[in-house]
């Protein structure tokens, strides 16, 4: 990705952005936040009227587009010598309106899925994709806490196009890659003025000061007794449902499980990858019913310490402050308040 200078800074209203979507749709499926009940989901859109750029957060993060909640990995046939055929579903995609927290999560998954082994399924979808990021002008609601983790509210890289709402429904548009620059070019936006660019700086500096929710996970990721033996785990585990919501909506939770399903002929079948959750009893279950994390407390602690940056995934699975786990926890377990209790002890 080449860095494009401020010569390539533009200003666009929703009507202009509609043109960008139209241009993009000739090449890409465009996914953006779309209302579902009281929430939002990333879905295919046809124009700006389908989406709402003032959305707070989607139920599942946009990482779902690359790391699918459920996908078929391969088809197989057993009789006459086993045969296997990979199934990789790819379509060129534009992900429109990605917040800083979720973009940081995508960048972490990029590293996770390319570390020792490249994940062909993730990469096939990710490599051809275009990301249109959207700066936040402050917390989207009281659940956001990216500012204290340095993962938002302003985006600093990893995008093809970056939008900042500098005035009411007026967006400063910047290119972060050649693909982005070309798309902007085709959409024929007006060049931004100096005051537009100044307005972006002002937005960025005030945005991070408006956060009320705060998290500090430093020194909580080490297996020290003050963290592991704290009574807060017992108290929270009493409330916890082990429902898995927190990890299933988490943009940095990538754990999955793989299983085979046979067709009715009991010969052919397919292999499925499905998002898993360490909060589920079966997650750490092994042969003969052995289980490494039988108690809710052990599972809850494991997940949070992972989000603090301490479990196997390390910083690649750590928290980006999107607030989903707090909002979607039916038991109102709050990782930021657990962390502050723990911080008092270490």
């Amino acid at each position: 990705m080449s860095v494009v200078g401020s010569m390539n800074t533009f200003i666009a209203d929703l009507h202009d952005l509609d043109r960008l979507v139209e241009v993009a749709r000739s090449r890409y499926s465009v996914y953006a936040p779309v209302r579902r009940g009281r929430g939002y989901v990333f879905s295919k859109i046809e124009g700006m009227s389908d989406t709402d750029l003032r959305y707070n957060r989607t139920i599942l993060p946009p990482t779902k587009i690359f790391h699918r909640p459920k996908e078929v990995l391969l088809r197989f046939q057993l009789a006459d010598g086993p045969e296997f055929g990979e199934v990789v579903e790819v379509e060129p995609m534009m992900i429109f309106g990605v917040h800083a927290c979720d973009l940081n999560a995508i960048l972490r998954l990029d590293r996770f899925f390319t570390r020792r082994f490249e994940d062909p399924y993730y990469l096939a979808r990710r490599r051809g994709s275009v990301v249109v990021a959207l700066n936040c002008n402050g917390p989207r609601d009281e659940y956001c806490f990216c500012a204290s983790l340095g993962t938002g509210p302003t985006v600093y890289g990893g995008y093809d196009i970056l939008l900042t709402e500098v005035r009411d429904r007026m967006f400063l548009v910047e290119a972060g890659s050649e693909i982005g620059a070309n798309l902007i070019d085709e959409a024929r936006f007006r060049r931004a003025s100096m005051s537009d660019m100044e307005a972006k700086k002002a937005v960025a500096s005030t945005a991070k000061r408006e956060f009320r929710r705060y998290a500090d996970f430093r020194s909580l990721s080490y297996p020290v007794i003050e963290v592991l033996a704290h009574t807060v785990w017992d108290e929270e585990a009493d409330k916890c449902f082990s429902c898995g919501n927190c990890s299933l909506v988490c943009p940095t939770c990538y754990c999955y499980e793989i299983y085979d399903t046979l067709d009715m002929d009991l010969n052919s079948g397919f292999r499925v990858r499905r998002l898993d959750s360490c909060q589920l009893y079966g997650y750490a279950e092994v042969a003969l019913g052995g289980n490494f994390r039988k108690s809710r407390k052990a599972r809850l602690r494991h997940w949070m310490v992972c989000k603090f940056g301490g479990a196997a995934g390390g910083e690649l699975s750590s928290c980006v402050g999107c607030g989903r786990c707090i909002f979607y926890c039916p038991a109102r377990i709050d990782i930021t308040s657990v962390a502050s209790r723990l911080r008092e002890a270490v």
Binding site: C243, V249, L266, P330
Partner: protein
């Protein structure tokens, strides 16, 4: 050929109907499956042995006790087929009343006096159960999974995680977070989050998930304004007899 039998105790026959709803999928299995006993569709006599018995319904009369033990003795694998067989099901809501009063309500003071009812128990109160298929009725995919696994001699892959997982994978809104009394967090998946996907709260027909926390859910229900009676009704509706819910459902 896998020889199977479908047996019925106190129930509505809905689980058997679900088996019938496999439709053409049953045809795919005609050369692998010998349906040797199924009172709903044929008048075959009971045979000496079955590879797999699907047992629908709870045990609610003295005769049932004898019969379920007989089915068990004839079957290599016994499947509790549906909510009634697995946890007592809807029938078990009468367990919280005096049996005599229930008989009077149902049969009147004069009629059907020969009917003797006992506490409605899931079949595992009397016999060992190998596989539990919850649901009112069980999903077709779960039924197919146990049939395929039985033919091949695999352990069937049945969800033990909660409905919430299926809701999240379908990206449904969370009804409970929205303040509606959904039982999803403590109830086993398998239905594909059928009710919540249609905007209806989970009623709990699949019974408890692997590690449920009904006490916390009761607290949550209180928080959103349910009365103690309403909470009890929800916990008792399908699986109040299950050991995971019994304590809080107050049998």
């Amino acid at each position: 050929m896998l020889k199977i039998g479908l047996f019925k105790f106190s129930s509505c026959s809905g689980c058997q109907l679900s088996f019938l709803r496999l439709n053409e999928k049953l045809l795919d299995l005609v050369d692998k499956l010998d349906i040797a006993y199924w009172v709903m569709v044929s008048d075959n006599d009971v045979e000496d042995s079955y590879d797999v018995a699907f047992v629908e319904g709870s045990i609610s009369t003295p005769e049932d006790i004898y019969s379920i033990k007989d089915v068990r003795a004839r079957s290599k694998v016994l499947i509790a087929f549906g909510a009634c067989a697995s946890f007592g099901g809807l029938n078990s809501i009468r367990n919280y009343m005096v049996q005599k009063d229930v008989e009077k309500i149902v049969y009147g003071s004069s009629g059907a006096l020969s009917v003797k009812s006992i506490i409605s128990y899931p079949i595992d109160f009397y016999v060992d159960v190998d596989i539990y298929l919850g649901g009112c009725p069980p999903s077709l995919s779960d039924i197919l999974e146990v049939i395929k696994a039985s033919i091949l001699g695999f352990k069937p892959r049945l969800p033990d995680y909660p409905v919430c997982v299926e809701c999240k994978l379908s990206e449904n809104e969370c009804l409970l977070v929205n303040g509606e009394p959904c039982m999803g967090p403590i109830i086993r998946a398998g239905c594909g989050a059928l009710c919540p996907s249609l905007g209806r709260t989970c009623e709990g027909c699949y019974g408890p998930q692997a590690d449920p926390n009904p006490n916390s859910l009761a607290d949550k229900f209180r928080e959103i304004g349910l009365s103690e009676d309403e909470i009890l009704c929800r916990l008792r509706k399908y699986a109040g007899m299950h050991r995971d819910f019994r304590g809080i459902a107050k049998l």
